[in-house]
Point group: C2
Chain length 323, copies 2
């Protein structure tokens, strides 16, 4: 009788997991997720973790939504540079600005990242944080992805949204930990992922408190305060959460250190990498890509037995708009 009850409970909870992750094909990836969640949540399990310590961190670009052919925030930030150009006559002599306006890829490659990032910082500062938030929302409402011809916020991954909901239903607190900026994600992350503004960790431009027309405002400064990428991710997690994640999800070498810290935890952990191998439904890229390069983290995943998700084989559906 007790065995029958145990089998019944197992069958029911497996079916609950199947219902919770309907866009995931049966296979090692899904099985690894479900087994981990059972291990850390079931009373009496040797790997049980109290609710307050069930922290799960997710990279955003390439892990929760698409990032090709260019990080979506980069497209937005360049649009802001163009919009700000009339106020910056000095840019006429700026090589980076010239290369950008002329879409001169050769010149851009020669210049390197630094002058481009400086230009972006200047073009995306000077306004209050409220004004900038408004600009982001307006841009997101109008901009369309070059290939899918849809709003960028449609390009979130359906299986990952199910995973977020499944973890939360099991008492996890879910965070974004992105190289992108918090400002760019907060306006839509709650609706898209169920992640509230205070659980979005990301890169940050400096902001300055000041009184403007008798009202206190925060104004954006043309300088980065924090880059939440690579070795910056565990730093961002330490600063904002102060607990080590027990589950972490990424897709590129920029996530490696976050995954390493999670894997090195004292208890059981879940470490997962999304591999972009579906050129038909999305994009296929890894070791050689300039955006979302997956090389060292892939080697480490293989060596350490981390879960590597094949978007092609593990996901029934990538985007919710697919038929």
């Amino acid at each position: 009788m007790r065995l029958f009850a145990a089998v019944l409970v197992f069958a029911l909870s497996s079916s609950a997991a199947a219902q919770a992750l309907p866009s995931w094909n049966e296979g090692a990836a899904k099985q690894g997720i479900v087994e981990f969640v059972k291990a850390v949540t079931e009373k009496g399990s040797k790997d049980f973790v109290p609710r307050a310590e069930r922290v799960a961190t997710f990279d955003n670009d390439g892990t929760l939504w698409a990032e090709q052919p260019l990080y979506f925030q980069f497209v937005f930030a360049l649009d802001q540079v163009k919009a700000a150009a009339p106020k910056h006559s000095e840019w006429k002599d700026n090589a980076a600005f010239q290369a950008l306006t002329n879409q001169d890829k050769e010149a851009l490659a020669k210049l390197g990242h630094k002058p481009i990032l400086e230009l972006i910082a200047v073009g995306n500062s000077g306004m209050t944080v409220g004004e900038y938030d408004h600009t982001i929302r307006e841009w997101l409402a109008k901009a369309r992805h070059p290939r899918f011809k849809r709003p960028y916020t449609d390009l979130t991954y359906q299986p990952m949204k199910e995973l977020l909901a499944y973890l939360r239903a099991n008492g996890f607190k879910t965070y974004i930990v992105s190289g992108g900026s918090v400002e760019f994600m907060r306006p839509w992350a709650e609706k898209a992922y169920g992640i509230p503004p205070e659980q979005v960790i990301g890169s940050q431009q400096e902001v300055k408190f000041e009184m403007k027309d008798g009202k206190p405002v925060l104004t954006r400064e043309p300088k980065f305060a924090f880059i939440d990428d690579g070795p910056g991710k565990p730093v961002g997690i330490y600063r904002s959460i102060g607990r080590r994640p027990i589950a972490a999800f990424g897709n590129s070498d920029g996530d490696l250190q976050m995954l390493q810290v999670t894997a090195a935890g004292p208890g059981r952990s879940l470490v997962l990498i999304v591999h972009h191998d579906d050129a038909e439904r999305e994009f296929a890229y890894d070791r050689e890509s300039h955006i979302g390069k997956l090389d060292k983290a892939w080697d480490e995943a293989k060596a350490k037995g981390w879960i590597v998700v094949s978007m092609k084989n593990d996901w029934k559906k990538i985007f919710s708009f697919e038929k």
Copy 2:
């Protein structure tokens, strides 16, 4: 019958508030708190605020626990400088270190803050964040306040702890926003205040990711990354929460900008200052104090009608250990 029910509900909820804030005397301060909470939480109220937006931010030193005769973290940080001295033979020629060891107040006053803070930064760096956390916990267990002869963590204010619990019972999310460092508060804030590590905002020293004996660790660097004081407080709130508080609590000019931002919100807000006017049970200080100076913020509180709590008159009890 409906009127009777309404009266009954009112009577019950008023008595619930009284029960929730037992260490508060009846008066304008308590009444202001209870009225605000009713206004933003009761369905149908014109000032109703959804649960997710009920953000309350609390300064720590002087607002949630005592801060005299020296910020407790400053005492700890100086102890770490002393402990680190054998490793820093170069400090023999350091004027700030000499003045500190000799307790030469005149020399210290002449030197100003900068060399002292630099010394503290060096003396409190070089170790992993885990090692530092351990040192803090050991120190807190042993150190005693010079006047009260008790662990520093006993010196939290009972009425404020009741207020934190009362706000949370009404759907608020409570945060610490302190000039002190997150590391120093996280080990005890959850037990003392019910505030988890991820809701502690504060000043931050730089930390660096590195591999040590094959394990990923974060090491403390001798440099401040962020000072969460004065105009830094609204910046810290913006970075970590991304929502404007609707209730904010402070006790000194270092809290002024946080209080201003809260008061400038689009809806109803609660802004409260704790005034230290009870030399007998705690300490009495305000406009002339070097620690916890309350001058500009007091003037603004009077001009704007913010609540000013008299510790002497509004609180039945200051510390839980009082009889």
